[in-house]
């Protein structure tokens, strides 16, 4: 199975030709993000799985109508959102992507000096300096992968699109139909959580 990125037109041509490896590669590339998107709308992982399956059927059935105005990825995610919304309505649930949930501090408040103390709001337990060369060993990557998988679905979606897949902020906003400010809040929470999970691995 190839892990090289293939461009959209080529991927579509291969799918039309019935290339199973190309299909598998495409599924593998988008599966985690599709699941995260689906889970922002539906409750259980099992239902999200069904939504993702339905979305792939939708992708295949309307492949001839893909005009390349957006990227294939954007188009696929839009189909997932569509299927997930339909499913959420049927479940009597409607959770807009814009629901950010309660505020959460980027860093455990106990690591800062408390109000009333001298230097209130400044570090009590500062982080150690990051190494010059970032560790990319298996364990570090595994911890990162776990931390990403544990993120709430909306945060996970934004982080996967931005930091794993390299989408631009604009692309994420238009694909998910969220404001630039909300996109940044979700990215901030995701990155803050992942940094915290990786902290011991990121200390020089």
């Amino acid at each position: 199975m190839t892990s090289e990125p293939i461009d959209d037109q080529r991927a579509i041509a291969l799918l039309r030709a019935g290339d199973e490896q190309a299909f598998e590669a495409l599924v593998a590339r988008h599966y985690a993000t599709m699941m995260a998107v689906a889970r922002t709308y539906v409750k259980s992982r099992a239902v999200a799985e069904e939504v993702v399956q339905e979305a792939w059927l939708g992708v295949l059935q309307s492949l001839d109508r893909f005009e390349g105005r957006s990227s294939l990825k954007t188009w696929i995610i839009a189909i997932v959102i569509n299927k997930a919304k339909t499913r959420a309505v049927r479940e009597g649930r409607s959770v807009p992507f814009t629901a950010l949930g309660p505020d959460e501090p980027a860093v455990d408040p106990s690591r800062f000096r408390r109000r009333g103390e001298i230097y209130a709001g400044h570090w009590r337990t500062p982080p150690s300096a990051a190494p010059d060369v970032v560790a990319q060993d298996r364990e570090t990557l595994w911890v990162a992968m776990r931390a990403i998988a544990d993120l709430p679905p909306a945060q996970q979606t934004v982080m996967r699109m931005r930091d794993l897949e390299g989408s631009s902020a604009d692309e994420v906003c238009s694909t998910l139909e969220i404001s630039a400010a909300n996109q940044r809040v979700l990215l901030h929470r995701a990155r803050s959580r992942v940094r915290a999970a990786l902290e011991v691995h990121l200390s020089a």
Binding site: V27, Y31, Q53, V107, H122, D163, L202
Partner: protein
């Protein structure tokens, strides 16, 4: 606009806006001034950048075999029609 020094606790909440160039120029200047003088926050910013780099190296998770099998059946079905 605001005439007070940013605390470290405020800095860690501004890091993403800073990295996304979303701070107004005055706050960005205060942010940078703080980072220049505060080892803890400089370390925090470094860790944040390192975390983003690490996340960029994470491979997509494996698709559960059952899901993949189901999708391949659907793909073959679609191919025939």
């Amino acid at each position: 606009m605001r005439d007070h020094h940013l605390t470290c606790q405020e800095i860690v909440e501004l890091v993403t806006d800073y990295l996304e160039y979303a701070l107004d120029s005055e706050t960005a200047a205060q942010f940078e001034e703080h980072i220049n003088f505060c080892d803890g926050c400089a370390a925090y910013l470094g860790q944040m950048r390192a975390a983003i780099e690490t996340v960029g190296s994470v491979e997509p998770e494996d698709v559960p075999q059952e899901t993949l099998d189901g999708l391949l059946v659907a793909f073959r079905e679609w191919k025939r029609t």
